[in-house]
Symmetry: C2
Subunit: 134 residues, 2 copies
DNA sequence: GTCGGGTTAAGGAGAAGTGTTTAAGTTTTA
DNA sequence: TAAAACTTAAACACTTCTCCTTAACCCGAC
């Protein structure tokens, strides 16, 4: 049972950083290079981001599979597909067309390429009309 | 930028579980053994626990190092040491003796052995009097 | 007792993460 | 502009995680 996500090294750096030390100062204290402090800090922050995202996912766990957006799809027609599927299930999506596209852009930027879907995307919907992409 | 902590497999299992399916049913759907579903679910839950703990740590990041409890210390004298160090820093700890022991028990059960400290513990304190163990 | 649901242990292959160094960049600030 | 602070990339050794299988075990209900 390993406690949290952060290693001792990462916690050390975050704590010193919070006290206002520079990376070089921390490097001297913990005995390594400032470049290394930078990467340790970076991966610590990344870990925190992932922790947040994980809990975020848990909040949307009650979502059900809605549909799949195949790769190559035009981003502008995606919302229509989602609205159609959602209304077939009697749920009103809580976003409009632009809102959905923004939500998607924020959620899975790496699956998109300009106006098109690069990698296929799974869409989930819960009873509140909240959507979740994967 | 790898999204969250949970793998696709883990999310799949959690989602199906939330829908009320048994491990065997999920095993059939995703094409593996129920033993495997069990371990996937278990590590998913463990990941969520770690995510929570990570954010918990972030909340206490502004804590400063207070003192170290050496291994072999009697649990009943630990609070006194903490109160002493804290008041030397002009901070009032927001727990009483029993509260501190409970906090410690919850936070690092594996560092304790009956009435004694098995592995040394770092104590951190924040300006609000919140304590954090490591 | 048997069956269904769940858990555990051991082991293995492959993937991912960590801490490091060195060396080259970029940004901020005095 | 020069110095200080920070970021990035590539590479390497190591460790941990993930998924998987097989085979066994626990427990509550019928």
């Amino acid at each position: 049972m390993k406690e949290g996500l952060l290693t001792d090294r990462q916690k050390e750096v975050l704590r010193h950083r919070r006290q206002g030390l520079t990376q070089q100062q921390i490097a001297d204290i913990i005995g390594t290079s400032k470049a290394n402090v930078c990467t340790i800090e970076k991966s610590a922050i990344e870990n925190v981001r992932r922790a947040r995202e994980t809990l975020q996912f848990m909040y949307t766990l009650d979502a059900r599979f809605l549909c799949e957006i195949s790769s190559g799809a035009d981003l502008l027609v995606v919302p229509d597909q989602i609205f159609r599927e959602a209304s077939a299930r009697g749920v009103k999506v809580r976003y409009d067309t632009i809102g959905l596209i923004n939500r998607l852009r924020e959620s899975l930027p790496e699956h998109l390429q300009a106006r098109f879907v690069k990698d296929e995307i799974q869409v989930y919907l819960n009873d509140d009309g909240e959507v979740y992409f994967e």
